[in-house]
Symmetry: D2
Subunit: 264 residues, 4 copies
């Protein structure tokens, strides 16, 4: 079987260079181009690229994707900065290129994506739920984007299941002790030297608790998700938002993420 021909755009960045190495190391993939900001996009077509991985910058990504989609190159996009408008632009290009697919994902860690899926599935079954996220002590925002998103998904699943808002028993105490309120779900942010990125979702019901914990110990945790996306995107024409849609073999994937534009 011939190998899938893959290019990495942004190959000099930390994640981009690691992605290039990972593609190179995969038996079923062929790294045919590894370009950065000063290289012409034509390198991609000259190399016969089938799938391009974009790990660049919000300023560059749309131009890169217009070129790729225009030339029938499937795209896997980890670059940030997506808005509804930007997604609509990309969807327009894809509609004009039937058979070409693009996956845009805010998080390529399979563990993080599964954590969100499981949290959504568990949400309706428990009276109580809180989120604790723990990160290194250089992180400027609290809560993390992933924790905020997780709490929102949980809150939506509770609402959909007809669960009432959870009751906070606290009548007196110190400000902040009960965390931040994200759609009624308390979220606690720990900042600790030595950590990287970690998240716990705690569910509590009568006599029992269920905890889903994700630990990111190295930024290489994005690689398996990127490779999975590279292998899957050729058979997923159009725009897909969120890696969860590519975890299709999992029993839950079918009706997965409630907000992804896919299929809309």
């Amino acid at each position: 079987m011939s190998k899938l021909r893959v290019a990495v755009i942004g190959a000099k960045g930390r994640i981009g260079s690691e992605a290039a190495r990972s593609v190179e190391a995969a038996d079923d993939l062929d790294l045919v181009a590894a370009i950065d900001r000063d290289d012409p996009l034509e390198t991609l077509t000259e190399a016969g690229t089938q799938v391009a991985v974009d790990l660049t910058h919000p300023d560059a990504v749309l131009g890169n994707l217009e070129f790729c989609v225009g030339h029938g190159i499937h795209a896997v996009v980890g670059t940030t900065g997506w808005t509804t408008e930007r997604l609509a632009t990309l969807r327009g290009w894809l509609e004009a290129a039937p058979g070409t697919g693009a996956l845009v994902a805010p998080n390529f860690s399979i563990g993080a994506v599964l954590t969100m899926q499981f949290a959504q599935q568990a949400a309706r079954w428990f009276e109580s739920v809180e989120v604790i996220e723990l990160h290194h002590d250089n992180k400027a925002d609290a809560p993390s984007g992933t924790a905020t998103r997780t709490a929102q998904l949980i809150a939506a699943a509770r609402t959909e299941a007809g669960r009432p808002a959870q009751h906070d028993p606290t009548t007196h105490g110190l400000d902040g002790a009960r965390g931040a309120d994200v759609d009624g779900v308390p979220v606690h942010s720990v900042r600790l030297r030595g950590l990287l990125a970690h998240q716990e979702v705690l569910f509590g019901g009568t006599g029992e608790t269920l905890t889903i914990r994700h630990d990111s110990l190295h930024h290489s945790s994005f690689m398996p998700g990127i490779l999975l996306a590279v292998r899957t995107v050729p058979s997923a024409p159009g725009l897909t938002y969120g890696l969860e849609h590519f975890l299709t073999d999992g029993p839950a994937a079918a009706d997965g993420s409630p907000t992804g534009p896919r299929g809309a």
Copy 2:
């Protein structure tokens, strides 16, 4: 709306008496009978029972269920001791009573059932997986039945996804350090004063880990699952094995448990 008329058989046992109290406390359920071994089964029909909860003994359960199914009473069964033959007998009775349903479940803890479901869903995505179960220091068997079952489900999901057996790097060490081997999944059993029943499933991939942990802190953890089953079984004619089939609103429920006789 009229309340569902529920009876508990084995109402003097520890779990049975708690189940009776839980039914009584539920707004939508009416406890119409609470009988034990010396009470006639006709009490159930005289009381107009719609659903009977059997929490008795392997010696008594089949007789109880023959009576219930024969009289069109749906059954929720937590009594243990089921074999393939016994399930076949029960299925035969149910086929002769169209519209009547019976749920037999080895575990009514929703947290435990979700842990197994999530473990199955995650299994295909990670190179490594091990199970740690932790129980009080009076438990005679190791590993626990739940941990063994969880490991088997994980192993089956890995096989189904075409994953090779996981590699044990250990070349020297002490006997037992690497746990028990259940279909290729290491299972470790901790016995500790002060604990009740706890289980952790640890998945490891490149740069990240995913942990699913279930803590049973009180035997009341079975009650929400029993009540869920009571409410669901009237609309699930025939035999259902495993509470996971009633967690239908969860995205994963459809193709849930790989071994349940339901639908067979």
Copy 3:
């Protein structure tokens, strides 16, 4: 060897009745009296009580202790409501009764006391420290008293070791995400159905973290500490505040690292 003669005051309360049973079950202790509010204190002297355990009410405890100390009965006190003034009153009585001892303790859980000790010992060695306490969803105050006290002890130990205040990297986010500030130590309070009382102290340094976690799964966790206090208080004349003073073999033992060649 003759058994120590022990009485329980408040023997009809939940903790008191359990304490009476625990004393009765101990081979080296003799339960000679178990009284409650309507019983005369003279029962204690008539029974030849050597140690009285007071598990009553702030309104009753001072009267009980005046009687005990006045009759040379050692006291172990779990009743709450102590102030500096009340402790001074008790100390005065004890000074007039040389050889008589009283232990007043806010927490008889050995695990909770060790957690605080270890947290103090570790505090000076790590850049970062945060506390997470997790309780059942009926708890009205947040943070818990134990967590507040733990954070204060950690802060004091850091100050004593000359550590600067820890830096919070958060520049933007949601109110409450970073927890309550107790003397510069962030404290997070989780409230979850199914939990009892749990606490985690997380320390972070370059490349590593150290976590000390205490789980109270049943209120019987106070019993070993109460029995330890009963056995120790006869040889500890005067007032002792805090069970940690009776865990004297712990810290001492650490210095005698059994195999280090140092000083040999």
Copy 4:
């Protein structure tokens, strides 16, 4: 105040080069030499070295230390391969060089050392104790050396406190489920892709558990311990084995519980 003059031997190795960088970055230390196997030891004396850090190889370390001690240079030694005989040889050299100190330590992670200290302190207070160590999936030995050592220290502390052997309730099950037996303490070894080095000590008593967990997320976790040793060894003449002897403020501090009125 003048800076302490420090040399690193083995400065081209992974740990050695990181140690050199850490010394260079410390305000109170001056990196005066960074040598490797081809450099003459005289570089150390010519540079006016006060403390040498040896991170080399068992074949080289004794020669390096003979030179250092012979020239009054204090030594901090992370190189492995120490036997009773080798330690005796080193002790002999130190006796001939009064005022010169050497610290040999099997582990420079402060978190690992504290974990062992706390485990020893807690051991006498709990009925049950087990150790779980978790490492990356390339580790060849199981259990880890640190876990074995921790279990031995716990067993010794239990014996010293007169505790009987803990009872294993297991009467039937699978081989290996209950872990390896290290002096009566069960030790479980988990091997998982994505992990580095982690250890949990679990203590269980009536109604409660105490868990001490150490996570090594990066090999830089050795640096704070190495710097601590460099700063302390000049005032610790003779041979010291184990970093725990330099954590002297820890255990002492615990006795001074800041608010107890005892002894006031």
